[in-house]
């Protein structure tokens, strides 16, 4: 550390939004040839701080030095000119343009576009780093991970010296994450400065050289990664010691509550998304679902919730008291949710589906409950109370329950959504990526909540990407591979290697060793 020189020094950086003090006199040094992990709870001001480096926000007070010079970064253009590139928490891509067009956006050059030259250059970058992206593909046709790749190429293409990545792995599969990390290490070795924001502490340990921690907008310290550990980092973020164990109570009194039989689903283009899937979930247990992205989890949950038509097969809801079976296919989502099947679906695009970005917390709580009662008027009192409860129970960082959710930090948005879904006291709870983007403390709070539901006798379906968590939390794990059931394993008797193998090949038999 001693021989390294700081490329960027941030001094006393302060930024507030209305009444929210997002950054409070932050000091931070960034060094060449180093990967810095920036940590902090949801809403602690990580994104804000980095946005001031990339020119999106302008600090209220404080100074930024590049080398010896004080600089003023007034716009993203200034940031680019200083060699700072950032991959944002929410994608910054133009949907109707192609990958190549997005990549060269805003760059200077000849007035007349020569797209074939651009495409060529992009292809060469792709082959150099091992990306798989078609430069001529439109963004709207891309999967999330492809979009993420485009974002990364965008920065590489411009040749930034200082690279900031804001939760880049939240939507990537472990394999994709590995690839990304390899690239980042290369860049570090090239003498570039890399800053990564993430909530996954194992990634921090695996990748970073140094960690810097923010707590409620204040810088609380930095340390070399090798000198610390997950528990210590968490304590620094939260400000007091926390226990990071998922308890897994034994399921009690399990009775079959939901049964899926031979379910087959095709998408609009006729591609099979689910192929002859059968399984069942019982009350008081957590069924985990694992699979690489796009293997059909989304369709499965949507089909159960009545949002997705099925080609064949059946789904039954079983009343545990009477044993009566009721088919769910053919029912409207409203009827299904009235039966107690709650889908807490955390879509890739957080604010686009589960919540209304411009509405405040209270109104977002109402989404599930507004129909209640016979009156033509909607009840606003109980949603308000619910909002207050979620804010305190999940420690949501918000000025008030009247704040539009769009103003909250990424993780806090997530808490609102999950909090609302769990609150509806369902009998079947389905969560998909429930902790995506949540800080570690909040993630554990969510696991606790899910366990509480399980103990209340709720049948829980938990779709997750973090295999460690799946193995620790779930009673049984169903593994999907290309739309087929690759296997169902006992959470207590498996490990993440086995699951990983089964995710990439049916039954996990013929897989390569290193999966």
């Amino acid at each position: 550390m001693e021989e390294k020189t700081a490329v960027i020094k941030m001094r006393n950086i302060t930024k507030s939004f209305g009444s929210v003090l997002a950054n409070d006199k932050v000091w931070l040094d960034i060094y060449k040839g180093e990967i810095l992990a920036l940590l902090g709870e949801n809403g602690s001001g990580k994104t804000t701080l980095m946005n001031m480096l990339s020119g999106i926000y302008y600090p209220d007070a404080g100074q930024i030095f590049m080398g010896e010079n004080e600089v003023s970064i007034r716009s993203p253009k200034d940031a680019y000119d200083l060699g700072i590139g950032m991959i944002h928490q929410h994608f910054k891509l133009v949907d109707v343009l192609t990958a190549a067009e997005n990549i060269i956006l805003g760059m200077s050059g000849k007035g007349l576009l020569d797209m074939s030259a651009v495409n060529e250059k992009i292809r060469s970058i792709c082959s150099l780093y091992g990306f798989d992206v078609d430069p001529e593909q439109k963004i709207y046709d891309m999967s999330v991970s492809q979009k993420q790749t485009v974002e990364i190429i965008k920065v590489l293409y411009r040749g930034a010296d200082i690279l900031i990545l804001d939760e880049p792995t939240a939507v990537l599969t472990p394999q994709e994450t590995d690839k990304l990390f390899a690239i980042l290490r290369n860049m570090r070795d090239d003498g570039k400065a890399v800053i990564i924001i993430t909530h996954k502490l194992h990634e921090v340990e695996e990748l970073s050289d140094r960690v810097a921690i923010l707590q409620r907008g204040r810088f609380v310290g930095d340390t070399l990664t090798k000198d610390t550990n997950a528990a210590e980092m968490t304590n620094m973020m939260v400000g007091h010691p926390v226990v990071l164990n998922i308890e897994r109570p034994e399921p009690e009194n399990v009775k079959e509550r939901l049964r899926v039989e031979n379910l087959t689903i095709r998408d609009i283009d006729g591609v099979k998304k689910l192929d002859d899937v059968s399984f069942s979930v019982g009350s008081g247990e957590i069924l985990g679902i694992a699979g690489i992205s796009g293997c059909g989890q989304k369709e499965l949950l949507e089909a159960i919730a009545g949002l997705q038509p099925a080609e064949s097969g059946s789904i039954f809801y079983i009343d545990t008291k009477t044993g009566e079976k009721e088919p769910l296919i053919g029912k409207k989502p409203r009827e299904i949710s009235a039966m107690g099947v709650a889908l807490s679906f955390v879509p890739e695009d957080r604010l686009g589906m589960g919540l209304v970005a411009n509405m405040d917390l209270t109104d977002n709580m109402m989404l599930r409950s507004f129909r209640r009662g016979k009156s033509v008027f909607a009840d606003r009192k109980s949603p308000r109370e619910l909002a207050r409860r979620v804010v305190t129970e999940l420690s949501v960082n918000t000025p008030s329950v009247d704040t539009p959710v769009r103003k909250l930090s990424g993780g806090n948005v997530q808490k609102i959504l999950v909090g609302r879904e769990i609150s509806s006291a369902p009998t079947v709870l389905m969560t998909a990526y429930a902790v995506r983007g949540l800080d570690i403390n909040s993630s554990y709070t969510i696991y606790d909540l899910i366990n509480q539901q399980k103990q209340k006798g709720v049948a829980v379906i938990f779709v997750g990407e973090d295999l460690d968590v799946l193995v620790e939390l779930c009673d049984r794990i169903l593994i999907l591979c290309g739309g087929k059931v690759s296997g169902i394993v006992d959470g207590r008797k498996t490990d993440k290697r086995e699951i990983g193998r089964m995710m990439t090949s049916l039954g996990g038999e013929s897989s390569e060793q290193q999966a």
Partner: protein, 323 residues
């Protein structure tokens, strides 16, 4: 036959006014600004051109046609550009609501134009006495190589300017770096901004240039279509709204606006050339352009293409620190 030629001519003349309005508005909308002030800008462009021509022609004994042409053109471009600037300042810098600002600009433009139009009529010694015959003749100069072709033989230069502008704009939007950046701004200004594009500057330029082009529609209306008089019957306003409609009809593609405008012109004037319509069926017949537009709109919406959408951020203000 003569009737058909006459109809085609009427359609092209009519179409040219809305074509200018539409391509100006397409450029504006591509940058994300929904300027409903098109009719107002056309008014302002029209009156400015007429006033420039009138003041020049009445101050010299033998007006020079080329100078007449340039003066009117210059006045129109400056005035309509200023109108665009006013709109830009309010909506881009002050982030005022675009719809209201545009509609207000229409009220303002029609007021100011008719106010000055009235004053000019008075100055000229009575209604219909504004004489800008040299300028009007200059604008109605036909292109030499088209003289032999009957339909084209009586079309003034601006007709061709409109078509060329539409083609150039298509090329600009699709093939140039600035065009790409502009489209990105209209689709997603936050992304464009993060990519280092100067969003505000680009929006200003596009909106003001678009307004200048829109203003040419007014100039063409005043100096060529109604041949150098001022009429306060709201004719420009009606055409201005049709120009806004044409933008959507053409699906934000300037080249589609060319045929769209002429098609609209044909349908608009057709009833004059259909024999045997009595007065009431004529009124029903006059619905044709609107019904056809609706039909085309419905059919093209049934295809649900991603490419036929308006710019995604159209009509919304952009503030970098907003989330």
């Amino acid at each position: 036959m003569a009737g058909i030629l006459s109809l085609v001519q009427a359609a092209i003349v009519f179409g040219t006014v809305i074509l200018f309005g539409a391509i100006g508005e397409i450029l504006t909308e591509k940058s994300g600004s929904l300027n409903l002030g098109v009719p107002g800008i056309m008014y302002i462009g029209g009156i400015a051109g007429l006033a420039g021509a009138y003041l020049y022609e009445s101050s010299v004994s033998a007006p020079e046609p080329l100078l007449c042409f340039l003066i009117a053109l210059f006045c129109t471009l400056i005035a309509s550009c200023l109108a665009g600037l006013l709109y830009s300042f309010l909506t881009i810098s002050l982030r005022a609501n675009q719809n209201v600002t545009g509609l207000t600009l229409t009220i303002f433009g029609s007021g100011i134009a008719n106010l000055f139009g009235g004053a000019m009529n008075k100055m000229a010694g009575g209604v219909g006495q504004i004489s800008v015959s040299t300028t009007s003749a200059a604008y109605r100069t036909t292109l030499p190589f088209f003289r032999g072709i009957s339909v084209l033989s009586s079309l003034g230069v601006l007709v061709y300017v409109a078509v060329i502008l539409a083609i150039v704009m298509t090329w600009f939007l699709n093939r140039t770096r600035a065009g790409l950046n502009l489209r990105a701004v209209g689709e997603n200004p936050a992304t464009a901004d993060a990519a280092g594009i100067k969003v505000t500057k680009l929006k200003y330029i596009a909106t003001c240039t678009g307004a200048a082009i829109t203003g040419l529609g007014g100039l063409y209306y005043v100096l060529d279509y109604i041949k150098g008089t001022w009429a306060n019957d709201g004719g420009i306003e009606k055409l201005g709204w049709l120009a806004v409609a044409l933008v959507i009809f053409a699906r934000w593609k300037p080249v589609h606006a060319i045929w769209g405008s002429y098609l609209f012109g044909v349908l608009f004037w057709l009833y004059f050339y259909i024999p045997g319509l009595d007065r009431s069926s004529q009124e029903l017949f006059k619905m044709l352009p609107y019904i056809v537009t609706i039909a085309v709109l419905v059919i093209s919406s049934m295809r649900r293409s991603r490419e036929n959408r308006p710019p995604a951020h159209l009509g919304l203000p952009y503030f970098r620190e907003e989330r």
